[in-house]
Point group: C2
Chain length 171, copies 2
DNA sequence: TTGATTGCAAAGCATTTGCATGCTA
DNA sequence: TAGCATGCAAATGCTTTGCAATCAA
């Protein structure tokens, strides 16, 4: 009886509650997609989750995974994140600490970090301009330690990154 | 002979230099697109710029505007920015101070801001994880002062925002 | 039974690409 | 003249939507 299992239960309950409150319905697909989502740890795209689901039930369609991820987001269980490669990724959101992302533009490695100082400064910037801050979004793009070394050794590395940041877009 | 005019000249020169160095060619379309881009002040999408160009020369195609904006970005004259509505916007980049964006999710208003403290903290976060920071991206999403007031008065405002942030995606 | 849900195919968007034609250098 | 640039149409990649069939409540 670990904390994780308790948490697991609770997330299912949150989902059920959301479904009831919104007048929606329980389905085998939704349960399966939630279960598999909860078993993951990485940031995954709808495509990624689709294939994981597909392995267990090949009758589930792409559309349902898309729609269910949206549903999970509405229920507060998932959070959409974008890393600049044009896809939308999802990460666990329920009972998770807020964090931002640092992305290696070479290998796609994603590091989560949290800086209370930056958070506080964002609040004060918003206040300064009269904004009521609802969300914020922050990415740091650069080269991770390994890729800095690799770049020093050879220029061409064969490995394909999972997340390819095509154009480095700074906002 | 204002500073703006001097700057204008210089940006054209930068463009010419970039074109020469890259072995590319001067064309009437590129000159026109650059000129019109330089006359703008807002963040504009390729679509936006296309229509501005179209007014002066309707023979210029979408594709050329896309390609030229990429070229301007390569030349350091433009910077791609994304606000979360799925489109790519461009802003002036040459001789511009670095800044981040605060976006009103109701009316789409974009406020540019700069916080040296946040910049410094980003550097130290990167350093802490061994990252070599190349770019960063930061958005603050919320309600601007006007929209907070409007929300207090009525819930439905008829105005269509120029930038519609469909799903609030926090990264 | 009623109406939400599903999965397929098709449509949407923003963006990119193939290719014949046009035009700079 | 060589080969980059252009513009059209078609393709792409991700996501959404229409719709008939299915299924939960």
């Amino acid at each position: 009886m670990t904390g994780k299992e308790n948490n697991f239960q609770t997330e299912r309950e949150v989902f059920s509650e959301h479904i009831q409150k919104a007048g929606l319905r329980h389905t085998a697909q939704r349960d399966l997609i939630l279960d598999i989502f909860l078993q993951t740890d990485e940031h995954l795209s709808s495509e990624d989750l689709y294939w994981l689901v597909h392995k267990q039930d090949s009758s589930v369609g792409h559309t349902t995974v898309y729609r269910t991820l949206k549903l999970l987001t509405d229920a507060g269980l998932a959070r959409e994140v974008r890393f600049g490669d044009g896809k939308t990724y999802y990460e666990h959101h329920y009972n998770q600490e807020h964090h931002d992302h640092m992305i290696c533009t070479e290998c796609g490695r994603v590091v989560e970090f949290f800086s209370p100082e930056i958070e506080a400064l964002q609040d004060s910037v918003a206040a300064e301009y009269g904004f009521k801050l609802t969300h914020h979004s922050m990415r740091i793009l650069g080269l991770c330690e390994d890729c800095q070394k690799k770049d020093a050794e050879t220029s061409a590395s064969g490995a394909q990154p999972r997340i390819r940041v095509k154009s480095v877009v700074v906002t």
